[in-house]
Every structure is written in structure tokens, then in C-alpha cells.
């Protein structure tokens, strides 16, 4: 338990530090890299509370897809971030006020909130028996909720079809690589061997 507590503070501290660095670092690429580190630490926090599936999804989706997408955007589009950040100091007081209000609300909730007596039983044992939560999600998603699962997959298919329909353009006169043609070429069709007498030229 002490070890878990120790790890919690390490993950949480790095996570918060990364959050600060995302906002303050001068180089946008560094910001994104700090963001990725923050995601990893958040995943660590999920593992500590026994939600390994969420941790996995966080790494796969946010680190694997979203963060890489950010990185692409930052590196490919030449956005001048220092320009964007100019004048941010003017908003410090407004931001600090809003942050202060949020913090106060959190403090009120944290001090006055009490769990119902029957809640402790529910929160402690969300997983029945020895089934890990990845397995228990898998057990319902392909059985009880297969209709929703298939419906969601159709939605993603429509999104894909839509993206292709709206953006793909076939340009005329584009030379495409045809691997089969390249492979099926042989030296006999392309090379002519000419015997040239020495001194006479071609």
C-alpha cells in the first residue's frame, strides 16, 4: 500500500509538472512531447486504481493517435506559437480568478461530500470475481451490446466513406507506380545488345 501511495505521488507530480510545461515551454514540439508524457503518467494513475483497460486505451488512443496527430500538425503547419502567445499575460488575472473559483468549488465539494453508506460496497468491488476489467468489458460488448457495437462501427464506416467522398480527387495525367508492371519487366524486352566493331562507332 505504501508503495502504491509512493507511486501515486510520483505519477501525480510528474503529471502536474508536465501540464505546466505544456503551457509554458517555448518550443511547440516540446509542448506536445510533454503532453505525451502527461498522458503516460495519467495512464499510470489509472493502473494504480485498477482500471488497466482505461490506462491501455489512454495510451493507445491519446498517445498513439491524438498526440502523434498534434505532433504532425505542429511540425507541418508553420504556426507561429510565440505570436499566438503574445498578450497572454493580460489574461493572467482573469485566468487566476477563474482558477481560484474552480479551486474553491473543488474544496467545498471535497470537504462537504460524503459517500452514502451503501456506496462503499459498490465502489470497492466493481469487478465480479477474478475477471479483469478488460475481459468484463469484452464479455458485454460482444454479447449484450453487440447491437450498439455494430451500429457504432457502421457510423465509423460512414465517416470514412464521407471523408473519402468529400476529399478524394482523381487527377488526370498522374503517373502512378504499378508494381506488377515493374516486376514483370524482363531484361529481354528492354535491353538490346549491339556488337560494335572497334574504331567504327555506332
Amino acid at each position: 500500500m505504501a508503495f502504491a501511495g509512493f507511486m501515486f505521488y510520483i505519477f501525480a507530480a510528474i503529471c502536474v509538472a508536465c501540464g505546466v510545461m505544456v503551457v509554458t515551454s517555448r518550443n511547440a514540439v516540446h509542448s506536445v512531447l510533454f503532453l505525451i508524457l502527461a498522458f503516460f503518467n495519467a495512464a499510470g494513475l489509472f493502473v494504480l486504481i485498477g482500471a488497466e483497460f482505461l490506462a491501455m486505451i489512454l495510451v493507445v488512443v491519446y498517445v498513439g493517435a491524438v498526440a502523434v496527430l498534434f505532433l504532425f500538425v505542429v511540425m507541418m503547419l508553420n504556426v507561429n506559437f510565440t505570436e499566438l502567445r503574445r498578450g497572454a499575460k493580460n489574461y493572467v488575472y482573469v485566468g487566476a480568478t477563474l482558477g481560484g473559483i474552480l479551486f474553491l468549488e473543488l474544496a467545498i465539494v471535497a470537504t462537504s461530500w460524503t459517500l452514502g453508506p451503501q456506496m462503499s460496497a459498490i465502489t470497492l468491488g466493481p469487478v465480479v470475481g477474478a475477471v479483469s476489467n478488460t475481459r468484463s468489458i469484452g464479455q458485454v460488448i460482444y454479447t449484450d451490446y453487440v447491437y450498439l457495437f455494430q451500429g457504432a462501427s457502421l457510423i465509423l464506416l460512414v465517416a470514412m466513406v464521407g471523408a473519402i467522398v468529400l476529399t478524394l480527387r482523381q487527377r488526370a495525367g498522374v503517373k502512378k507506380q504499378v508494381i506488377a508492371d515493374q516486376v514483370s519487366r524482363s531484361s529481354k524486352d528492354e535491353l538490346i545488345i549491339v556488337k560494335v566493331d572497334s574504331g567504327s562507332g555506332i
Binding site: D144, Y145, V146, Y147, L148, Q150, G151, A152, L154, I155, L157, V158, A159, V161, G162, I164, V165, L166, T167
Partner: protein, 482 residues
Amino acid sequence: MFDTSAFAPALPEIALATSVLALMMVGVFSDPKKALGRVSFLAVLVLVGTAALVVITGTDYRVGFGGLFIVDSFAVYMKILVLIAALCGLVMSDGYIRREGMARFEYPILLCFATLGMLMMISANDLMSLYIGLELQSLSLYVVAAFQRDQLRSTEAGLKYFVLGALSSGLLLYGCSLIYGFAGTTNFVALAHEMATMESAPTGLIVGLVFLSAGLAFKISAVPFHMWTPDVYEGSPTSVTAFFAVAPKIAAMSLILRVMLGPFGDLIAEWQQIIWFISVASMILGAFAAIAQTNIKRLMAYSSIGHVGYALMGLAAGTEDGAGSVMLYLAIYLVMNIGTFAVILSMKIKDRMVENISDLAGLSKTRPGMALALMLFMFSMAGIPPLAGFFGKFFVFSAAIDAGLIYLAIIGAVTSVVSAFYYLRIIKVMYFDEADETLDAMEGKAMKGILLVSSLAILVFILLPQTLAGYAATAAASLFAG
């Protein structure tokens, strides 16, 4: 070992989904020039087949997928309306998309996906399946709105629809999460049980219900969530507007009927005033804002907002008669709109599409058939007896009066007189103004067929109002059975 009873109720949807996937393969592997024709033809067959399956599998009350999916006679009635609307929308757009350079095979496929989403919405028996169906429908529609991707108007319409649609989905989901938090379930049957047993509804639940109805009101473009409608209707390609005006409205309307009367039927005191307000606001805005319009697509947008207001009047009654009258209204609305859009889609001068009301001038002399049909639809929309539109309004008004909503019915009658002004103006332009240029003749047997059938349906409805009203009443009864 493999129990099919969980899947059997969704047989039409499963068939539609797998056929659309197969159609995509057909489209991808066909010769690019032939792909659209082939896929459109097959898509029509698929939709007809789905409708046949919906009818064959019957109207018995069945629940599938562990309570996520429901089939009853209400669902079957609405699904048939949606499938007819989708089918006509698909057939009518064929000529248009070829002329306007949108001839890509993804068009019928996206319409089929949208239709699938609508069927899923109609059969939703849980807040989660409601959302999945709604998103499948909306996402496909955002894409087809922007389908004319080289035209600024079309892409703008698509983007606008997308951003506002995402906002409304957010509202809806927030409402769903509040309802789940305070009721402890997302299933409609369990929610209905919960509402019936709790002594007073918690405030959080009411707030959730308000957000949910705001999200749904956005989808049916009821005032005050209507802002997107005129711009999207005007900007989208006309064939897409024809689709938007009917099928998604019917699907979203059936959602709102099922949600309000099913799980929240016992909270009628809480939601009746919301529906009352949006009904009145929609009728008034639909009547007055349309007067100044010169573009016929914008006019149809405001007209559809007004019609949604009338349909909601039946829901505000909250009775079985009220629900039946809404369903009858939607069926008549479907026929009138399909007919009108068949004319709008044929409005072109020398192969160039036109969409101003003034372009219709002198239509009675140049194209008397088209003018006669459009006159019928306009009279019907204005609610002139003996045409079908009159009966639609008559049934919702009488349902509202029976439920004691006298003021609502009076406002409805007044706004319907006001709206008659702009419907009659179109007739005046067609019959009494001089033509500058002659509209081209209507093209395509399918288009003429749709126009003929819908005008006949409007005309002969008076002979058999009880038949369709009877179907609607049976279907409405199934909403109250649970």
C-alpha cells in the same frame, strides 16, 4: 447453441446493413462509368426488399438485443413511411445528380446508410440505441449535404449542418446522461416503470428531459432550434433537400413520439408545455417567415417548419388519438412533399436548374400538367378541403381540442390561414403571371410516375380517410400498450 431470437426482430435492418456493404463492393469494383447506375438500381431493389421484410416480419410486439431494439405496429408503420420516402428520394435524385456533376456511386450508398440509421431510430428502445441510430442517420446526411463539393453553397450547407448537428447531439447526450443518472437506467421500458413508481420526478430528471427534447426538436427543426433549416435546405443539392424534407423528419418525429409517450408518458404534465410552446412557435414562424421568401427551396424549409408545428400539436395532446393524428399527418406530409419536390427537381430552363418562385410564372400555359399537380399540392398544404392536407390538419386539430388544448387549435387555425397566403401565391404566379422563359419538360418516367401517384393520392384520400386513419390508430395504440 446459437439463439437467433435476439437478432430476429432486427432482420430487416441486418439485411439492409449487409446489402449496403455489398453494394459498396459493387460500386468499388465496377467500371467507374457504370458504377452509379448499377449501385442506384441495386439500392432501389435493396430498399424495396427491406420494406418487404418489414411487412413480412409482422407487427407483433418483439424486443431484441436484450431490450435495445423494439418492433411493434408503430415501428412498422413509421418504417414503411421512411422507406417510401427514401425510395422516392433515391429515384427522384437520379437525373439531378447526373446533370449536376455529382454522379458518384457513394450517393445512393450514403442515402441507404441514412435510411438504416432512421430504421434504427424508429426501433430504438433504449437511449443508447436511440443515439446510435440518430448519429448514423445524421452523419450520412452531413456528407450528402456537402456532396456537391465544388460548390461553395453546398459545402457551406454541409458544414453548417454538421456543426449545429454536433451541438444538438451534445445537448441530447447531456440530457441522456442526466436521465441515466437520476433514473438509473437507459432502457425505455425500465424508464417507464421507474416513472410510474416514483412519487415525484427529481429535478435533475426533468432537466435531462428538457435537454433530450431540445436535441430531438433540433432534428425535426422545430422552433427555436430551426435556424439551420433554411440555409441547409437552400444550400444542399436539390435532390438532397427533397430527401431531407421528408425521411429524416418522419424518423425524428417517431423518435420524439416514442420517447415522450413511452418512457416519459407519466411525466406529461412536465413536457406538455414544452411541446405546446415549440408547436406554437413553429407554426407561427413557419407561417410568417415564409411570406418573404423568393427561393422555393427556402420556402419549403419554412413550410416544413410549419408542418412540424402542426404535427407536434397532436403530440401535445398526449392522447392515443393525438399520436394517431400525428402519424396520419406524417403520411400525408410525405406524399405532399414528395410530389412538390418532384416538380422542384424538374424546374430547369435550357438544362440549367432554377429555384426562384418567379421562374414558375406562366407554368399553366407552358406545362399545364406540372402546374396542375403543383396547384394540388399547394392547396393540400394550405389545408383546403377536399384534399388530403385538410384531413391531416383536421385530425390533429380535433385531437388537440379533445385534449382541452383549445388555444393551441385556435393558433393553429390562424397560422394555417396565414400560411395559405404563400401557398396561394405560388398558384397565382403559375396561373396569372406571364412567362418570360419556358421551363423544360419533365424528364424520366419515374419522375412522372411519382408525380402522378402522389397527386392521385392527394385527390382520392377523401374516399378512404378511415382506412389510413385506422392503420394509424392501431399503430398509435401499440405505443400506449407497453
